[in-house]
């Protein structure tokens, strides 16, 4: 019995068409089929946020979405948003604040943080903490992550756009 479906997903701007097993998660499709290993698998049950991706502009858990559900949609990963420069400010701030240690949660954390930067430019420190609560980090204790995101928001407020 064939349990695959032809699926076309625009990954970081490039359409990718494959016969995809119906049960395959989007994160496994990206990592195993496309070879984009930047998004990580931390829990496989939607809690830790390490696999956070962007689908049609909204952040989602790559382990809670099937690849076939992304058929015809646009998926952005850490690799794509790094190359486009969209994450550059956050990446610089994370680097300068050491807002990452082992780096395993970092791609997902950056995706969530970028979503906040885009949608809540006025977020307070408390709101930043609340917004990234769905992304676990076991190394940093979060303080530096909040500092880094806060700095990006401040810079955007103060500096020329």
């Amino acid at each position: 019995m064939d349990t695959t479906l032809e699926t076309t997903i625009t990954v970081n701007g490039t359409p990718v068409t494959r016969q995809v097993p119906a049960r395959q998660h989007l994160i496994d499709f990206l990592r195993e089929t496309v070879g984009l290993t930047g998004s990580h698998i931390g829990c496989e049950h939607g809690v830790c946020g390490a696999c956070t991706l962007r689908v049609d502009g909204e952040i989602v858990r790559g382990c809670l979405m099937l690849a076939v559900q992304a058929n015809g949609r646009k998926v952005d990963t850490i690799e794509g948003l790094s190359d486009s420069g969209e994450l550059a400010e956050l990446q610089k701030a994370f680097h300068e604040h050491n807002a990452l240690q082992c780096g395993f949660c970092t791609p997902g954390m950056l995706m969530a943080a970028q979503d906040l930067v885009r949608t809540r430019p006025e977020a307070s420190r408390e709101e930043i903490r609340a917004y990234v609560s769905g992304n676990y980090c076991r190394c940093t204790g979060y303080h530096a992550i909040v500092d880094a995101v806060e700095e990006v928001l401040e810079n955007r407020k103060g500096g020329p756009r």
Binding site: T37, T77, Q91, C139, T140, I145
Partner: protein, 796 residues
């Protein structure tokens, strides 16, 4: 420039290398991780890669009556299925004991259980398939019949030996230790105040974001094994794979690329990982095992689970006269290889009462086997237990004497000029700074103002608490930790520095990187010691085929030991470079120095020779150098601390929080930590180590517990059920430093990675109890859940 001329690194003759030491330089090697371009084990791609999954015992203790793998073997994509006996043909069992832990015992443990499983989650069969999905599908076709055996889950039950888990051992006691300075009964008899309390500590675990991962690649042609491993100790694993798989050590290479957090979880030998390596040999192809999150909760080492009674004897002026401790801890069915599971209890005995100047101490400690997952060394090993026991009972004594907790500590902390000092447990302190750290903490947190605020709010029915916790911490251990007990675990580390023809410096170190910043500080030290800018330094770690031999990352040793090796190698390379420069320039070496990538005149700082030109001549035109002159642009140096068994550090934490006395919820408002980890190489990285450690300590204090039922079933083995700290509930954490460099090394650095975890739980506990004081309520069993707090308040 940060002028810190008093530190040993800046001793006479080395003024120019102060460079990057003490500066908050971002980690050069972190950039790839920010773009998702790291290389964790599960990111690697190999031809003919097979995936192994494990069939695990559903019971905590059961005999395997039947295990039929034939149906599983016929499933699509399945390459092979193995039981314990098949794997044992290739991998010998182990017994985790150490000679210096007198009397410690354990049972032989196999890579895959044979005949009997002793905890829920122990692997009893391996299925190898072309994909992980196919392997997992085949698991449903394993046919097993079990005979359930009596389950021992409670520590007291284990100690009572009603059911002995390993009959050959005679009883359930893995290890016991007693210590007595001799005058304890006398001290208690003379005391004005005696206080006693029993504290409980739940089991918790590390929850590394990257689960345990291993990819073993056996090459039958040359009988060699290359293992890509998420481990903290590649050389230790090289030795272990060699001895248990019967492959010459020189044929085993362990490579750690990026490792997604470790915290002590990834420094142990795991049976499923040994099985994976054995299966690679059996199948003569690369085999990968990546634990899923449920397997992680069932099989990553757990830690803590102690119940301890502590008594303190005090004079009415507040002097502590003696401590008396009785600790019981349970470790699961096996002592974990090769470090043993006796160390945490041993540390509790060594460290309890550690910051204080009493002279009488008695301790009794039992380590017992149970049918739960194994426990072993996790970040801060024993320290959070010792700190909570000490600081919990100290606060209680202070309260009974009507003394402020800060003042009570001031009266009892060992004086800053009392060193070297031998503590009643026998451990030796080279030089600590308890009073300096206490003073700094009280200023940082504005203690008096905070107390006034607390009092004012209390009148309005807002219950806030302030908790202090002073600690000592074992860092940078000598061979006294493991080597003396017979474990082949290196206490020394090495670094190789090489000047490249382009003037770049390559630094290859044996300490590994799991995110703590080892490679970053090595770049800082190497650049400073050689005289180059940091952009000229490349650091590599984590490959037994390439790096000098060393211990890796554990016991807060990377900066203290590995850093000193880099410093010594850097100085040697600098000297060798100057030999070449002197030959090229026909000048006296003593007239020359290296600054900013150039050889300069030491007095005038006039540029004499860029290193890129020196490299060109040394490598490509050595014919132009004097006859018989041979340049040496690769140097290796090693370092082992020998003078003291451990580089003890000290610190003090404060927690400020609010307890909702109607719901039992705790809101953390702020946390302060002042630590003395000797020379601070990179203040930002030390701050971040402390902060991360504090949050893991807060997790233990408030949220994290591996909950088992009476049948030995883990009840919360998912990330949704096992709570770890999230950003929204964590406070800002203020970190302060006091620097008392160790005189054992020229760098003067001690460890910093575990200090946060050591002190935070005690500070949080004391703060909660301070908040609850108006109600006469106390909590003593971690984690301090809302339910436990409400019970203490008599509300549920």
């Amino acid at each position: 420039m940060n002028a810190r001329a008093e530190l040993p690194l800046h001793a006479p003759g080395t003024q120019t290398d102060k460079g990057y030491i003490g500066q908050s330089v971002p980690r050069p090697n972190a950039k790839r991780l920010l773009q998702g371009r790291g290389a964790f084990v599960d990111d690697l791609r190999f031809p003919r890669l097979a995936h192994v999954v494990f069939f695990r015992s559903p019971y905590a203790h059961a005999r395997i009556r039947k295990l039929d793998l034939t149906k599983a073997a016929r499933q699509p994509g399945v390459i092979a299925c193995f039981d314990g006996r098949a794997v044992a043909e290739y991998c010998t069992p182990w017994v985790a004991v150490l000679a210096h832990l007198k009397g410690i015992k354990s049972a032989p443990q196999h890579a895959i259980a044979i005949e009997r499983a002793c905890w829920q989650g122990e692997a009893v069969a391996a299925i190898v398939a072309e994909s992980r999905e196919q392997g997992e599908d085949a698991l449903a076709h394993v046919e097993a019949e079990w005979e359930e055996l009596p389950v021992v889950t409670d520590m007291e039950d284990a100690l009572a030996n009603r059911h002995v888990i390993h009959p050959d051992l005679g009883d359930n006691v893995c290890f016991r230790r007693e210590l007595d300075t001799g005058g304890v009964d006398d001290a208690f008899a003379k005391a004005d105040l005696v206080v006693e309390e029993t504290f409980g500590f739940g089991r918790h675990t590390g929850v590394c974001m990257e689960t345990r991962s291993i990819l073993a690649d056996y090459n039958a042609a040359d009988h060699s094994l290359t293992v890509y491993h998420a481990t903290q100790a590649p050389h230790m694993m090289q030795d272990i794979f060699s001895r248990h798989l019967g492959i010459p050590e020189a044929n085993v290479r362990v490579i750690c690329k990026d490792v997604g957090g470790s915290f002590g979880i990834k420094v142990h030998v795991y049976p499923d990982e040994m099985a994976t390596a054995a299966i690679s040999v059996m199948l003569r192809r690369p085999v990968k095992f990546v634990a899923d999150r449920l397997e992680s909760f069932l099989t990553d080492i757990h830690a803590r689970e102690h119940r301890a009674k502590i008594r303190i004897a005090c004079a009415k002026d507040g002097r502590i006269l003696a401590f008396d401790l009785d600790d019981l801890t349970a470790i699961g069915p096996y002592s974990v290889y090769p470090r043993t599971s006796g160390i945490e209890g041993n540390q509790v005995v060594n460290l309890t009462g550690g910051p204080y100047k009493h002279r009488e101490y008695r301790a009794k400690m039992h380590v017992v086997f149970t049918n739960k997952n194994v426990t072993c060394q996790y970040r801060a090993v024993g320290h959070p237990i010792a700190a909570a026991l000490t600081e919990g009972i100290v606060d209680l004594a202070a309260a009974k004497l009507g003394l402020d907790p800060a003042e009570f500590r001031r009266r009892n902390l060992i004086a800053d000029d009392a060193y070297p000092y031998t503590f009643p447990s026998g451990v030796k302190f080279e030089c600590l700074s308890h009073h300096k750290t206490l003073d700094k903490l009280l200023v940082l947190m504005d203690y008096r103002k905070l107390r006034a605020e607390q009092a004012a709010l209390r009148k309005r029915g807002v219950y806030r608490g302030i908790g202090l916790a002073a600690i000592i911490e074992v860092t940078g251990p000598s061979p006294a930790f493991y080597g003396v007990g017979g474990a082949r675990i290196s206490a020394q580390d090495g670094a190789t520095l090489r000047l490249e023809p382009t003037g770049m410096v390559t630094c290859i170190g044996s300490v590994t990187e799991q995110g703590q910043g080892t490679e970053g500080i090595f770049a800082q030290i190497a650049a400073s010691a050689v005289g180059v800018t940091m952009d000229k330094v490349r650091v590599m770690t984590g490959d037994t085929g390439v790096t000098p031999y060393g211990g890796g990352t554990w016991a807060s040793r990377g900066a203290a030991i590995g850093g000193e090796a880099v410093l010594q190698a850097g100085r040697a390379l600098r000297s060798n470079i100057l030999d070449i420069a002197a030959a090229i320039l026909s000048m006296d070496k003593a007239e020359l120095d290296i600054v900013n990538n150039e050889v300069v005149n030491k007095l005038t700082l006039e540029s004499k020779l860029p290193l890129v030109e020196l490299g060109r001549i040394a490598y490509f035109r050595p014919d132009t150098l004097p006859p018989k002159f041979q340049s040496e642009l690769t140097v290796t140096r090693h370092y082992t601390p020998r003078e003291y068994g451990f580089s003890f550090t000290n610190g003090i934490h404060a927690s400020y929080l609010e307890v909702d006395v109607d719901t039992g919820f705790v809101k953390l408002l702020k946390h302060w930590a002042v630590d003395d980890s000797g020379t601070v190489i990179n203040p930002m990285l030390v701050d971040e180590q402390v902060r991360g450690g504090v949050v893991q300590g807060i997790g233990a204090a408030l949220f994290e517990e591996c909950v088992y039922d009476e049948n030995g079933q883990l009840l919360n083995g998912t990330m949704a059920d096992y709570l770890v700290p999230m950003s929204g509930e964590m406070p800002d954490i203020v970190v302060g430093h006091v620097e008392t460099p160790t005189r054992q090394s020229e760098l003067g650095a001690k460890g910093a990675g575990e200090a946060g975890t050591a002190g935070a739980p005690a500070a949080v506990m004391n703060a909660i109890n301070d908040a609850l004081a108006p109600f006469g309520a106390r909590v003593t069993v971690q984690p301090f859940t809302p339910e436990r707090i409400l019970k203490a308040l008599g509300k549920v």
